[in-house]
Amino acid sequence: MPVPPTWRLAGEYLENCNCAVLCPCIVGPRNERGGALARPTEGHCDVPVVFEIGEGGFGAVRLDGLGAAIVIRTPEAMAAGNWTVGLYLDERADAAQREALETIFGGRAGGPPGFLASLVTTRLPTRVVPIRFEKDGRRRRAAIPGVLEVEIEGLPGADGAGEVWLDNVRHFAARRLAVARATRSAYRDHDFDWDHTGRNGHYAPFTWQGR
């Protein structure tokens, strides 16, 4: 009998990198492991990625309604590694939930974050913070007071209602991503001070599992 996954998360995510629209890492060439070989439009990648877990659990620990964020700096092509990564965990999580979130998003429990873990050389101290995530039509907003404020808007689609989507892409968050542009973007923490207003963004529902 197959062993069931230890954890599963389903929710919404957004990201906002420093590339011009469209980020070449999504559609450019890949190595055999699926890593992006394209040169980011500015040569390096600075990207906050924010998650809102609608429903999820790690073993017996429920994670419904909690947030988490990852900030990533990659000095060159994403597949070249040498990443610096910082984690933010929802302050509403209790000790067991926090431990579960840090295990999952830190890449120690497989699944998509586990795939990324091998590219990381520097881990910044994890912060416990209030994280807000909002979904409103083609807009997605995320905020961590005093640290992060991002609003992205999906590029209007041909149907006049929805957004442009990239389908069947190799991306750790989801296979189907809305293409968006940041209408507001500020991140300041550790030694970083980013403003990606007008730059590339994506959002999507995500479903992950691992063990």
């Binding site: 469209l22 559609v27 394209a38 689609g157 442009v164 990239l166 389908d167 069947n168």
Partner: protein, 202 residues
Amino acid sequence: MTEPWRLAGEFVISCSCDWCPCAISLGRARPTEGRCYSWFAFRVDEGQAGEVPLGRLNVALLLEVPGKMAEGNYTLGLYLDERASEQQRRWLEQIFSGQAGGPPGWWRLVVASYLGARPVPITYEGDGHRRRVTIPKLLDALVEAEIGADKASPVRIVNIGYWMAPEVVLARGTRSRIRDWGRNWDLSGRSAEYGTFAWQGP
């Protein structure tokens, strides 16, 4: 010519970009090499202009754009299926040069230099995720889709407000050479796209 027309079929685009930001940004992004060298090929499966049937004909074009696509200053040359009658050719030239309106009509605003239209044999073949386009001595191309996360089907951009089509398959010019009108471009290994189109005008 203001009579109504419609065309439907498949198209392939092969360009000089490493990966094409133009379709998704609707021409506002800078091509990855600063300028765009490209060719387009169309397999018209069904079509009609006024009383003239336009189905089962092929069209191709050479396009040179010096900067962002939205900023214009295009140089355009057309290739029209040599099997087309004179009347069909006249319509195809009107439509693909933008003069007959519809989706390609915006080329009237951005084409600064028109090289003309040559009647030539154009072969357009496809199977699975590959497309082959050939014009003897001028164009030789094999375009293959980028296979996506499911490892079986292509990466697609969907619901896009692109004048060519609302959905395109991302591809690469495995082999893509065009040589004419003083240009000699090797776009092998560079970005490509294909999809189906359904246009009407004026």
